[in-house]
Subunit: 330 residues, 2 copies
């Protein structure tokens, strides 16, 4: 007989009120898979879009339970598991189903929670730190001595990117439309904070000595597209991670040619298993030691009980958070 668990379910597409905690079937680990008792589930903007019916989960993930990441403790190991044993502390990204008491994942997509990081707060790590690490360092080859512009610097990915770039010897300029978020990002190690008003491109150019920035981490989208191309240095690289301001924008291809610049879109969710594994293994090897050494840390804005998930979604939609919002199951 199948065991059950609590999970947050999208009962129909719509506003935050459609989310309900329900009792559902507990998933079971297959070969090479582990069952994790979830400590916390990070919220992501993509969850809001999925809830509204505009971002279906990949076919192999639960369709009606949102949640792209988890932290927790291994509860059970499936056949042929070699990396983990019951009781190990793990975290990772998911195609969906993260808002639940239990998740099942391929053992090689799970990452060991670094020493010194609590299991609950580790739920704030996977999506934002993996996204920032993958986009900036694996895809854009951001290197020591270069400069980066981080938009929406108070977001989850923004706060992760500030810390990762600081520890990599990269000069980070960040924007936010909220002055208090700019200030808090400066405390996290941001080199130059800029208010995201109409004059941000001029200020970024000033802050980069007129030369422009080498890499842009874009969590804003269409509204900033023209400005982004203006502030890119020669051979600049612009990576688009989120488009809350809108997806569409104008681009000047002649300027793109002149600068020999590139714009690339990225997303973690839709990647095939082997790429998620590759990212997880490299992340554990290269980024987790920074947590253990206290050079970077998860930034948690607030935690919510699962019953208050609608409230958490509203807070994210209103952009009130600095860093991550978590659902806690313990």
């Amino acid at each position: 007989m199948a065991e059950s668990m609590k999970a947050v379910v999208i009962t129909e597409f719509g506003g935050p009120e459609v989310l309900r905690v329900q009792t559902v079937e507990r998933p079971r680990p297959g070969s090479k898979e582990i069952l994790v008792r979830v400590s916390s589930s990070g919220l992501n903007r993509a969850d809001l879009i999925q809830r509204m019916g505009n971002y279906p989960a990949p076919p192999e993930s639960p369709q009606d339970i949102p949640g792209l990441e988890y932290s927790g403790v291994v509860e059970e190991v499936g056949p042929n598991v070699t990396l983990w044993k019951v009781g190990d502390r793990v975290m990772g990204i998911l195609g969906g189903g993260g808002y639940a008491e239990f998740v099942v994942v391929h053992e090689r997509t799970a990452v060991k929670i670094p020493a010194g990081v609590e299991t609950v707060e580790a739920g704030a790590i996977p999506e934002v730190f993996m996204t920032a690490f993958d986009a900036l360092f694996r895809q854009m080859n951001l290197s020591e001595g270069e400069s980066v512009l981080i938009h929406a610097v108070g977001s989850g990915v923004g706060t992760a990117a500030v810390q990762l770039t600081q520890s990599a010897g990269v000069r980070a300029i960040g924007t936010s439309r909220t002055p208090q978020k700019v200030d808090r990002a400066l405390e996290l190690g941001l080199d130059v904070g800029i208010l995201g008003d109409d004059n941000w491109p001029e200020r970024v150019l000033e802050a980069s000595g007129g030369e422009g920035v080498d890499v842009i981490l874009d969590l804003v989208g269409g509204a900033y597209l023209e400005g982004n191309l203006k502030v890119m240095a020669s051979e600049g690289r612009h990576v688009v991670v989120g488009v809350p301001s809108g997806a569409r924008g104008q681009i000047d291809l002649r300027l793109l040619m002149k600068k020999r610049a590139l714009i690339k879109g990225t997303v973690l969710r839709a990647r095939p298993l082997e790429e998620k594994i590759s990212l997880a293994r490299e992340f554990e090897h290269r980024v987790c030691p920074l947590f253990a050494a206290r050079k970077v840390r998860p930034v948690v804005d607030s935690t919510y009980r699962p019953e208050a998930v609608s409230e958490a979604h509203t807070a994210m939609a209103e952009n009130r958070n600095f860093g991550k919002l978590l659902l806690t199951w313990e």
Copy 2:
């Protein structure tokens, strides 16, 4: 006393009529430089833009003599030249000054004209073959078994790209707004030819089995921008080499993210010397043997005497050519 030579001079910015053959000072080779007696000077669309005053030459190049490439014979070697001797047949790209009887270049930017290629027709090689080779294979990492979409397939870069991709085991789909150019590109080895009317995106998707193309070589620009993103495969790469249809266009960043696609601009002219050298050396090593083996060949539409340069510019502006237009000095 300085020696003189004939050159095509931009007497003022304007239409084709502002170009005049005049007698100017012959350049002299410095250390590591060679003086080349030009056999032919390829025309490029950029020359038309420069003539109109919208594309100034880099500071180290002649400002009033257009011309981005040459073929010819080494006339004199400067001090410390080790690669070439008088009489060697060479070709290469230039920052400007190519419409002249003589050019001076750094010896390491010159490429040996392959056996079996006549010196005059070699003037049709450097810009278009180096641009296509660099954009597709060095920047976009186009690989055997992948597919490519080549817009303006009858242009100089287009005809070079068709041949290079064929010899690399890449499936090439090409568009042109002129049915005759589509036919001629098919004769050159293009796998699928498509008329560049409003339905080209649907036809490209059909021709790629619904999956889209891996790489787009774009010689059209703004007008095709939205269609290009639609026909790109997952992780597709779009490289922008020219924008005769206009520089501006709309882009859907959410689709860019979903496809994890990239758009990159490129231009040869503005690159620093070391990059031009690196490209020339790799081109000689990897591409020139294909000419010697008759697997690829320069495509010359017409040759013009320097006195008829205005006529040649008009032909290019009207897009009448299939392949390259050359000025011949012999």
